[in-house]
Symmetry: C2
Subunit: 223 residues, 2 copies
Amino acid sequence: MFENEKPIHKNKLNNQVFDRLCALLREGEFTPGEPVRVARISEAFGVSAMPVREALTRLSAVGVLANVAGRSVGVPTLTREELTDLRDVRLEIETKAVEWAVANKTPALLSELERILAAMLQAETERDIQGFIKNNYAFHFCLYRQSQSPVLIDIIDTLWLRVSPHLYHTDQRSRHRISNDNHQQIIEAVRSGDAVRAQAALVADVSGSYDDLVHALYSADSA
Amino acid sequence: MFENEKPIHKNKLNNQVFDRLCALLREGEFTPGEPVRVARISEAFGVSAMPVREALTRLSAVGVLANVAGRSVGVPTLTREELTDLRDVRLEIETKAVEWAVANKTPALLSELERILAAMLQAETERDIQGFIKNNYAFHFCLYRQSQSPVLIDIIDTLWLRVSPHLYHTDQRSRHRISNDNHQQIIEAVRSGDAVRAQAALVADVSGSYDDLVHALYSADSA
DNA sequence: ATTGTTGATTTTTGATCAAAAATCAAAGAT
DNA sequence: ATCTTTGATTTTTGATCAAAAATCAACAAT
């Protein structure tokens, strides 16, 4: 009895700050290369410096933040090589999560994915970027969670936190349309238990956004 | 000019504390389930509480430490399921690192691996546990580094930090002998460019130590 | 005797402060 | 005029302190 009770929210300040910073990172509110100052955040959030410091320390520990220009911490600007490395690792790890998720698929998973995809399609037609981002995150992690591997999910979570701040300087519209096609394919593949096809659609999704990003950052018109 | 100069070690206190804690974790000095108290460490290291707090925060952020029994942080005791999950993820990620490393193999890599293996063999005959542990770490990461993927290496590093504290309650002797056989096989496979065989030997190495651990923890004579 | 409650003690969490490091701009030298 | 250096200002890093939370043991009640 009482096996499934989760502990009452003991929300320490630093956890709240951490969660809000994560949300901001996922929404692309941080400009790579820009230092993130403790004072700015502590006054913006209305808390003292201490919990902010702790949250920033945690984000630095997982590589989401790093020293920018030798001074304070911030989202690091990534070289083409670093972006490629992140993509390659993401492809390996997220395709593995998909493989395990397909092995554990349930009807509940499929209906949940359908529900989220519908929200993504609606966000696309309404040009609701925020909504698309949030539901895209929900879609992928709904799938990854079905891998039943907390360790793998954690790794993917921090990888997303590292790349998210960079994915919002690209042309969004066409990407979203293509991305939704990939998601539709993923659902169909998962339904038919075809892990290989689900993985292929995922690879297209991840690689596509990577290509757009690299194009945006390193094409002729950029410094 | 001066492109390859790395910045002079500005060793902040918290980094030094962090590094020493990592070393202690790798050497099995922390008992899972036991709380790690800031005061203990700060007086043991002769520094104030602040840098210790930061180091512990960083270790908690990557899952090496966690809340034990609802109170302070410490190396968490792992259930059989959690150990299995860690093993499964390690197998996927570390075999991928080996695959990439084989693709990048150099003569220098092979001679370095040979050198480290020799040290491991000597440590085994001399029953030098510390030496074996250190060189085992050196061997694996020498190989993994050749994957040329900083992202992958970082992930593996924290995975090792999470499992290391648990690997020292097992019978060491026989494991070390078998492990050295696996390492020998890895070298030969890498030399001949046979990624699949190198991966198989690695799987044997990782799975073997996992099996020993699970046996030690959950066999009949344990509570 | 066992369970629950209370209070003392320990430990973490958050706030404030001081020192050290780094940045930026202005002044001086070549 | 340009480059270097110096000094003022900002920001991180480390130390100390106070408050809040949690642990443990002793005590009371059924």
